[in-house]
């Protein structure tokens, strides 16, 4: 097992390297962060030239990448514009845990910027994922047990619709119904955007209240796919011999389902959920944008639109590392839950 883990980690290194080069080249060419630094006015050419030099944006791309990767504390940079390299760099590079500073919030470390938003995303995404899993297990199992019933057909049709809907449509419709129209009709209505009501302060109740619509939207979209998966797994499991044995021994249906079938049907779900976990870190970009949730997804969009390479790279690399590790952890959990699987 240990050898397996080590091998997987070693394999991840070239993978992450390729990803970082790919993304870096893309990001450096996606617009000029200096272009919008003048605020509402065009950035003054003198300032642009100076900032490009001081932030190292005038360097060839391979150099920028190397500085990003291994830092520039071993190199000299020209801060005063006299053409002479005199000031030693201060960056340590990603390999030494320094993701650099944001270009637009100049002094702020990328790690710090991400760290500020990460909890908000997790607050929204972890409960969302848990609810999605619970809902899809219930729906999936129920429709498997009532195969070909009216409920099964309805659920199947609905899950197809849910699976086919872009999340913004669900979000807009639910905002329109529960936020706008309920208010119009004098019913208790749900808040449409934000994380809390500024008047009430950032209290737990407020946050939960504001989480309802985003979680509802994500559940509609995600649970649709998951529940179909659970259903087909369940159908496979209940036709297997050991379930029939358990039934023939006279065990009550509920016990058969909860003790034997559920466990085995839920196992493969671990893999799928494992693959989705890194996306939690990123936050659903679209969900956070629509509901104005101050999480990582919004952070990504905001900084991408201003070509803030260090922050965007930081977020993307964090996700990539998370993907690699969650795949590994999924495999390990899988082996732990299912003793038949052995990794060597």
């Amino acid at each position: 097992m240990t050898r397996y883990i080590i091998r997987r980690i070693l394999q991840a290194i070239p993978l992450l390297f390729i990803i970082s080069v790919l993304l870096f080249v893309l990001m450096i060419n996606t617009g000029d962060p200096l272009a919008t630094m003048g605020g509402r006015k065009a950035t003054r050419p003198e300032d642009r030239a100076r900032l490009a030099r001081q932030l190292g944006l005038d360097q060839p791309i391979y150099k920028q990448y190397i500085y990003w990767l291994i830092g520039n504390d071993w190199a000299l940079i020209d801060m005063d514009g006299d053409g002479i390299l005199e000031t030693p760099g201060s960056r340590l590079g990603v390999l030494r845990g320094d993701f650099g500073n944001s270009l637009i919030s100049r002094g702020k470390a990328v790690i710090e910027i991400i760290w500020d938003r990460l909890p908000n995303t997790l607050i929204l995404m972890i409960p969302a994922e848990i609810i999605v899993i619970i809902v899809s297990l219930i729906v999936g199992i129920y429709s498997a047990l009532r195969q070909y019933s009216l409920i099964d057909h309805t659920v199947t049709a609905l899950s197809f619709i849910g699976y086919s809907m872009p999340i913004f449509f669900v979000a807009l419709v639910s905002m329109y119904i529960f936020g706008v129209n309920f208010k119009r009709w004098g019913l208790p209505y749900l808040p449409t955007v934000g994380m809390f009501d500024p008047k009430m302060g950032k209290t737990t109740v407020q946050i939960i209240w504001h989480m309802i619509l985003p979680i509802f939207s994500m559940t509609v979209i995600t649970a649709a796919g998951y529940s179909r998966f659970v259903r087909s797994q369940m159908l496979e499991v209940i036709s297997e011999d050991y379930i029939r044995t358990a039934r023939s021994k006279g065990l009550p249906q509920r016990l058969v389902i909860s003790r034997h079938a559920l466990k085995n049907a839920a196992l493969p779900l671990v893999t799928i959920v494992g693959l989705d976990v890194p996306l939690l870190l990123a936050g659903a970009v679209v969900t956070e944008t629509i509901f104005a949730w101050p999480g990582m997804g919004r952070l990504f969009i905001d900084h991408l639109s201003r070509s803030d390479t260090p922050v965007v790279m930081g977020i993307l690399m964090m996700i990539s590392v998370a993907v690699v590790f969650s795949q590994l952890i999924t495999d390990i959990i899988y082996a732990w839950l299912d003793p038949r699987i052995r990794y060597t």
Binding site: I18, F160, P166, F168, V180, S307, I319, S320
Partner: protein, 317 residues
């Protein structure tokens, strides 16, 4: 649905004993038994008719005709779907927007299939270090969530392609950009399927036979192995059309998609939440059209999977 289809297959096999059918007839029969797929196909046909037939009723000039005096008017007899922020008729715009959205869906998949099949085929056929390298690359692309990659690429290519004229119509360069980036960020799944198929097929007798007769590698790949792995490519391609349409909508919704003057269902939704209260008709009709299109393509894809590959155990993602 998979279970339904399985039952159908059993029934079919019984019928088979009675009278043998050609593979084509078999596929058609299996597809027609899939009620949702038939419904999806009909719905899709109606939508295509709407987008392309509608062009006979409304000219593109009408779709782009602005009248600031009637901006943000709710649906009326004259403008059944209402008007937008500069007084354009939303019905006419959904027709021309639909053409672009469907065009993007189809063309992006063409790009996807070309890239996916090429990479998958080369990796699977040649194996060795080529396979290793290509699969590492595939994995790297897989590792970044598609939407993130799409957004970065949309920004990367944004504005680099000028407006082009094609079939007497002007297309914003961003249409090409969106097609290409959706294509090159979604081929990985297909490449894996093709590679797996090639790995198993290249050891089969007919391939070995082709080798001995001195057939070139290229010919073996494209004339011998590829036709035998066409079924999963068709299924995956169909489902990808749905994904491509949704992807376009997502990028456009976030403001990085197709830019005016060209309308798409996706960019008609851009900034929709600003009008959620004041002008819901701005987003309701394009939104419903996207949902219907994606839904019907998914139905058709599901039906095709059952029809083309009765033993497929691959579930819808």
């Amino acid at each position: 649905m998979a279970a339904l289809a399985e039952a159908d297959v059993i029934r079919l096999q019984e019928e088979l004993k009675a009278k043998p059918l050609t593979p084509g007839q078999l596929i058609k029969l299996r597809f027609l038994r899939h009620k949702m797929a038939v419904l999806g196909a009909i719905m899709l046909l109606v939508l295509i008719l709407y987008a392309f037939g509608g062009a006979l009723v409304y000219s593109e000039a009408e779709a782009n005709f602005t009248d600031t005096k009637i901006r943000l008017n709710p649906p009326s007899a004259e403008h059944p779907f209402g008007t937008d922020t500069v007084g354009r008729d939303i019905l006419a715009r959904t027709i021309y927007g639909g053409q672009i959205s469907l065009l993007i869906g189809l063309s992006a998949v063409v790009v996807e299939v070309i890239v996916g099949v090429l990479i998958g085929a080369i990796a699977g056929y040649y194996g060795g270090w080529i396979d290793g390298l290509l699969m590492r690359f595939t994995e790297a692309m897989f590792n970044i969530p598609q939407l993130f990659l799409l957004l970065v690429m949309a920004k990367f290519f944004g504005g680099k392609i000028p407006t082009i004229t094609f079939l007497n119509r002007e297309f914003s360069g961003s249409v090409i950009v969106i097609i290409v980036i959706i294509g090159i960020t979604s081929w990985m799944y297909l490449a894996r399927i093709v590679r797996a198929n090639f790995l198993s097929l290249k050891e089969r007798e007919f391939v070995l036979a082709a080798h001995t007769t001195g057939t070139s590698n290229l010919s073996i790949i494209f004339n011998h192995i590829l036709p035998n792995s066409i079924a999963p490519i068709i299924v995956s391609g169909t489902l990808s059309v749905a994904n491509a349409i949704i992807s376009e909508a997502y990028i456009s919704f976030l403001g990085l998609g197709v830019q005016p003057p060209t309308a798409t269902w996706g960019n008609m939704l851009e900034g929709a939440y600003n009008y959620i209260e004041t002008a819901p008709w701005l987003w309701i009709s394009p939104g419903i059209l996207i949902v219907l299109t994606v839904l019907s393509i998914n139905f058709v894809g599901d039906g095709l999977r059952d029809a083309l590959d009765p033993h497929a155990i691959v579930e819808a993602k």
